[in-house]
């Protein structure tokens, strides 16, 4: 089981062993070291990048936190300061309005104290004037747009020197009052000063239709007044419609609307009055009538219309869209001053009735289902019911252009409820409200004017409110916030970029290391392979040559020389081999020369012997008797056998020395066998053998050294003849198979044991060792035959014993084992 995966080192060549050892000893540790180094570097780098990233993230986090806290703190501080400043401005504004109104009380009482006189009234009318800012092209000059900056003259005052040039609005002085009248106890006007002159259009003001906008009912209130008591009306004026439309840049005021500050400064301005009245006694101390003074409402609006709760402080035209403006509400909560005049509640001058204020879509639908008129419905609506900015203003009223703000029913604006709440105790304050997508600070301050009906609540005349866009007074903090956020964002991006860069560098280093390690490993593997190959080639090449040389020598080619280049052990081995080969070759040559010389030298005495013996036997030396004749014949046989032996030795030595030269000629197998049989016929006959020849007629011609192949055939035949018991059978057969001609000689002789079937081709093979009886022969015939066949590129072999099945024509059995010799010759 284990053997299945076992590597047998003996199976590898020298190259394999060298490669394996080199790779195990040199490359494997290198690869392991490289891997460890690479992994450690990578881990270290990854950890460094992670820590840098974490540190950056923590820094960024704390920067964000600090920035946020700093901004929150500064916003809170700024908010607090700004809120306080705006609250104060609101409060002061309310005070000024109240003061202004009280001034009018004084005006009234002053007029009431004197006798009613048109001239006197006109004088008072003319003397009661006040400046207002009038709208006009602004700024008029370049200088107004960019007034020269006044610098501090003393360097010690330079720190945070802030100078604002004087406000240079275009102003006009207009009368405070629209009219001053004296009304008798029946309500008939007796004196009237209006439009700068004494008017003669005297009316009966007990009738509403004769009053301002047909809306005044003051005369009904007057009889209840005690002497010195003052009646003050609410704001009365004709309502002027206005339309808002949605535009890409925001809500826009349509030009046909009422005046709306910056948004529509061409529009018609709201015109209204507040009427003061007080009884007038005659000289007799009896009441003779009432003096009334109608304050031009413009002067009230003037308090709020130019206020800017920003650095700008004042403006010609307030901007309703910006949210930064001041406005005013009466004691009931109806709007009496606004940047957009169509928000000011007014009267329908045709009917003298109040135009109902703007309500929510829901409330408007409620009205539509009520069956009442809108005026009636509104009158019955509970104040401040379900106020929420989630509601939308009624579209029908927007289309009608009747958008007066009655804070009690404006249920889309919860801030109205806030102001009303806040002024309940006559105080002031502020709150934040998210309005029109902006956080708005809204302040309120009750106007502490308590004359007449205004004395009914601590709210007094009403309240001043200022709306301010929180973002605007956060501006400084917001700039800082934007800066900090930007710097944090940049820092974050820097950290992100640095982390990414670190990661990229780590990756690059990792890749470089990896390729360097792979490269070095591959180079060393290559180097090891080359070195192993070179070394093994140095060893194996000469070894292979030595092996080949030794093999060639074993096959008889003794002239071997190995190319020796190295001087190492292998070189020495090759050198020794060469020396050995040279020595062996020399010995062999000496042997061949010896045989040649010996055979020549032997022939001479044999010749002498043969001449004598043959001469005697031929009768050239006289008559000899029968016995001498027989003895000399024995001598002659011995001489002839000796001659054959010498010839065979000579052939053998020539074959072994590769001195045999082939003289190939085209011939037929028939010719060869014929010649062989001629030579051998007598011998065969002497042994009483039957020689059978089977040669198919269609055999092709062959190209061989005819004499030598004849000699082979003779050798094989004579071999069979000698080793077959008398009266045997010898079959000579030839056949053509593939590219070969196969010549066989089969006999029913003694046979050759298996162990000797190769050895029989060795020279002087001791036939005695396998034979029970001695047979004459040189012992060289088969060796010479093999040499000749080999020289022709063929082969020779023998088989024994033979089976009767294969050779039915050969009588086998007993000592007749049978042998077949097979010669293969290439065609």
């Amino acid at each position: 089981m284990a053997g299945r995966f076992q590597i047998n080192p003996l199976k590898f060549g020298i190259l394999g062993k060298l490669l394996l050892s080199f790779l195990l000893l040199a490359c494997a540790p290198l690869v392991v070291l490289g891997f460890i180094a690479h992994k450690n570097l990578y881990d270290m780098g990854t950890e460094a990048v992670r820590r840098t990233g974490d540190m950056g993230a923590r820094n960024l986090e704390s920067a964000v936190k600090i920035g946020k806290e700093a901004i929150t703190d500064s916003v809170r501080e700024l908010d607090k300061k700004s809120t306080e400043a705006i609250e104060l401005r609101t409060y002061k504004l309310a005070q000024r309005v109240a003061d202004f109104l009280y001034e009018r009380d004084k005006d009234l009482l002053m007029v009431a104290a004197s006798e009613p006189d048109p001239r006197r009234y006109l004088q008072i009318y003319r003397s009661c004037q006040r400046q207002i800012i009038v709208s006009g092209p602004w700024p008029r000059t370049e200088e107004e747009a960019q007034p020269p900056k006044l610098e501090s003259q003393n360097p010690e005052n330079q720190t945070s020197w802030r100078h604002l040039p004087p406000y240079q609005f275009q102003k006009a002085t207009i009368p405070l009052f629209k009219e001053i009248t004296f009304v008798d106890l029946e309500g008939r006007e007796k004196i009237k000063v209006a439009d700068g002159k004494i008017s003669h259009e005297l009316k009966d003001v007990s009738k509403k239709e004769n009053t301002y906008c047909k809306a005044e009912d003051y005369f009904r209130q007057l009889p209840q007044l005690k002497q010195g008591e003052i009646y003050v009306s609410r704001v009365i004026g004709a309502y002027i419609r206005g339309w808002l439309e949605k535009a890409p840049e925001g809500i826009k005021v349509k030009p046909e609307s009422a005046y709306a500050g910056k948004e529509n400064h061409q529009g018609k301005k709201f015109e209204g009055i507040i009427r003061w009245a007080t009884p007038v006694n005659g000289k007799n101390g009896r009441r003779i009538g009432y003096v009334t003074m109608a304050l031009d409402h413009t002067h009230i609006m003037e308090f709020t219309d130019h206020v800017m709760p920003t650095e700008e402080r004042f403006t010609v035209h307030a901007d309703g869209a910006s949210g930064n403006y001041a406005f005013m509400w009466d004691d009931r909560g109806k709007c009496i001053s606004h940047a957009r005049d169509f928000f000011i509640c007014g009267y329908d001058p045709e009917t003298g009735r109040e135009v109902p204020g703007w309500v929510s879509e829901e409330t408007y639908r409620e009205y539509q289902q009520s069956g009442l008129s809108l005026e009636e419905f509104v009158e019955r609506l509970p104040s401040f019911r379900e106020f929420t900015m989630k509601k939308q203003g009624s579209k029908e009223q927007m289309q009608a252009g009747t958008l007066g703000l009655d804070g009690r029913i404006l249920d889309t604006a919860p801030q109205c409820q806030g102001w009303h709440n806040g002024t309940e105790d006559g105080g002031s304050g502020s709150f934040l409200i998210y309005w029109s997508g902006l956080w708005k600070l809204t302040t309120y301050a009750a106007i502490p004017y308590y004359t007449g009906i205004y004395g009914k609540s601590k709210r007094g005349f009403g309240y001043v409110t200022i709306g301010a866009n929180v973002e605007d007074f956060h501006k400084a903090a917001n700039v800082t916030k934007v800066e900090i956020e930007k710097s944090i964002r940049e820092q974050g991006e820097d950290i992100k970029a640095a982390t990414a860069e670190n990661r990229r560098m780590l990756h690059q280093t990792e890749m470089r290391n990896r390729w360097a390690i792979i490269g070095v490993a591959m180079l060393s593997v290559l180097g090891v392979c080359v070195a192993a190959t070179v070394i093994s080639l140095n060893i194996t090449k000469p070894l292979k040559e030595l092996t080949a040389g030794a093999l060639a020598m074993s096959q008889g080619n003794l002239h071997q020389a190995i190319q020796v280049k190295s001087r190492d052990e292998i070189g020495k081995l090759a050198k020794s081999f060469n020396e050995m080969a040279a020595a062996v070759s020399k010995v062999d040559q000496m042997k061949s020369e010896f045989v040649t010389i010996a055979s020549h030298e032997l022939r001479t005495p044999i010749q002498a012997m043969l001449l004598s013996v043959s001469g005697i036997l031929g009768g050239y030396s006289g008559q000899i008797d029968q016995e001498a004749q027989e003895d000399l014949e024995m001598a002659r046989d011995g001489i002839e056998r000796l001659m054959r032996l010498i010839d065979a030795l000579l052939d053998l030595s020539r074959i072994e020395a590769r001195k045999i030269e082939l003289h190939p000629v085209r011939t037929t197998v028939g010719e060869i066998t014929e010649r062989a049989l001629e030579e051998i016929g007598a011998l065969a006959a002497a042994h009483k053998h039957q020689v059978v020849v089977w040669i198919p007629p269609e055999l092709p011609e062959i190209e061989v050294d005819k004499d030598l192949v004849v000699q082979v055939t003779i050798n094989l035949l004579s071999n069979s003849i000698k080793y077959t018991p008398e009266g045997g059978k010898i079959i000579l057969n030839a056949q053509h198979r593939g590219n070969e001609l196969i010549l066989t000689v089969a006999d029913n002789g003694y046979g050759i044991p298996a162990w000797a079937q190769e050895e029989v081709f060795n020279k002087f093979f001791q036939a005695d060792s396998i034979m029970s009886q001695k047979v004459g022969g040189t012992g060289l015939g088969l060796t010479i035959s093999k040499g000749i066949v080999d020289e022709h590129g063929g082969s020779i072999s023998c088989r024994s014993p033979l089976s009767p099945d294969q050779f039915p024509d050969l009588p086998l059995g007993g000592e007749r084992q049978g042998t077949i010799f097979e010669v293969h010759l290439p065609l």
Binding site: S599, H600, R603, T604, L610, L611, S614, G615, Y620, D647
Partner: protein, 129 residues
Amino acid sequence: MAIKKILIVDDEEPIYTYLQKKLTKLGFHVSVATDGEGALKQALNNLPDVILLDVKLPKLNGIEACKRLKADGRTRDIPVLFLSAKTQAKEIEEGLQAGAHKYLCKPISFPDILKEITALGESGESRLD
């Protein structure tokens, strides 16, 4: 033409002695030379009918001697029978190339040598006529 005069060229005393004795006994005029130069001299002096020439000879070897005999107009027509212990095919070829009539390999029996000489006489008759 019957062979009458034979020149034996051999450096082996037993061989030339035996041949001279037996051939003389058979009626031939036999002269002997024991080296190549001697062979050339004898051939010119005696102008034999046949020369039995050994190859391995002192001073001048048999092949060279044969070539000179064949080169000389006076001896050119004398048939040369090589009688040599050099029996390799190459050596036999060389001998025939030098102009010999036949190349006989030692050892050869006396009757065979005699047969060759007699045969030469019979064919020589027809050739010379």
